[in-house]
Symmetry: C6
Subunit: 74 residues, 6 copies
Amino acid sequence: MEDWLTSLQTDTPQQGFELALKLARKGVAYTQTSADVREKLRPEYAENADSLTMASHVVATHFQTVAAANNYWK
Amino acid sequence: MEDWLTSLQTDTPQQGFELALKLARKGVAYTQTSADVREKLRPEYAENADSLTMASHVVATHFQTVAAANNYWK
Amino acid sequence: MEDWLTSLQTDTPQQGFELALKLARKGVAYTQTSADVREKLRPEYAENADSLTMASHVVATHFQTVAAANNYWK
Amino acid sequence: MEDWLTSLQTDTPQQGFELALKLARKGVAYTQTSADVREKLRPEYAENADSLTMASHVVATHFQTVAAANNYWK
Amino acid sequence: MEDWLTSLQTDTPQQGFELALKLARKGVAYTQTSADVREKLRPEYAENADSLTMASHVVATHFQTVAAANNYWK
Amino acid sequence: MEDWLTSLQTDTPQQGFELALKLARKGVAYTQTSADVREKLRPEYAENADSLTMASHVVATHFQTVAAANNYWK
């Protein structure tokens, strides 16, 4: 796999949040390596409230890591 | 996307809690970008106890981050 | 919304636990703002083992935050 | 409610684990205050693998808190 | 119950991971005290992908604690 | 079991993420020791959005540990 994660440091909290999103998606992509299948699954969860909440929870967990890595952008 | 997160610092714990709520919702909004669809899903989870508990869990996870960023407002 | 969270500091661990409970419930109340609806949902989860476990998990997550804020009442 | 949590300090890691269990159960008991109902729900989850795993997760979350409070019994 | 947890310190990360597994199982065993019932439930979750993922999550949560207790075996 | 985890230190964040994936899978493998059964379960969760999200959550939890072990690769 190509290099996709060279640092946890970001300039702003928002970029850190977006990095957390990327980490959450990569956690899926390493398990389901087919982009086609992932695309096919998208409607299934993007229109289901609980699925979206679960996805948001993964982002929250990664955001803890990224925020700590950036000393909370203090 | 416009700037929506420039700092994790808040004046009070309550504002920090409300920021955690915002982060939880943004985690959903980045995945389901249509505000219309999100609005349509709202009754589905806002009247389901487990869905609300799951949503509250995401808020709790973000609140850990925000509270740490504010040194727990000590 | 009125002021409901002015500090994470509590005198005792038990008060901290009860604050964690309050935070968990507020996470629900911000999403489902109708107290009537929340009351109607109560039997649904208060008599379901998994729902109670999920709710207890949210409390546990908040209790981590409150305990850290109080330096574990050492 | 009577005093049930006066300290997070324990003499041994095992006592800390047992305190985590107590905290997990209290998280349930504050929501479902009837001991009779809780007892009735017991078979439902004590013989369901996923329910037991969920309960074990709550204990794990509280054990993080208790272990930190005791500086990991180092 | 006999002594089963006298220290969170381990010699290697792998032993720490195995301690995390033990803690996850103990979280179940304290709730379902019958080894026979636990054995009967085993096929139910050992052949279900989501059950295994849930169990792995509990291990991950305990591994955070054990790793911190060992200063990450640095 | 052979030695599979001798250190949490990695050279890059990406290698740390891949270690987190390995830890998540090991958490499953210790419970379901048959590689054949695990292989049989794979399609079940690799084509289910919620299962993938759950798996990604376990990775996120382990990534917190690995990132802390590496002082966030600062």
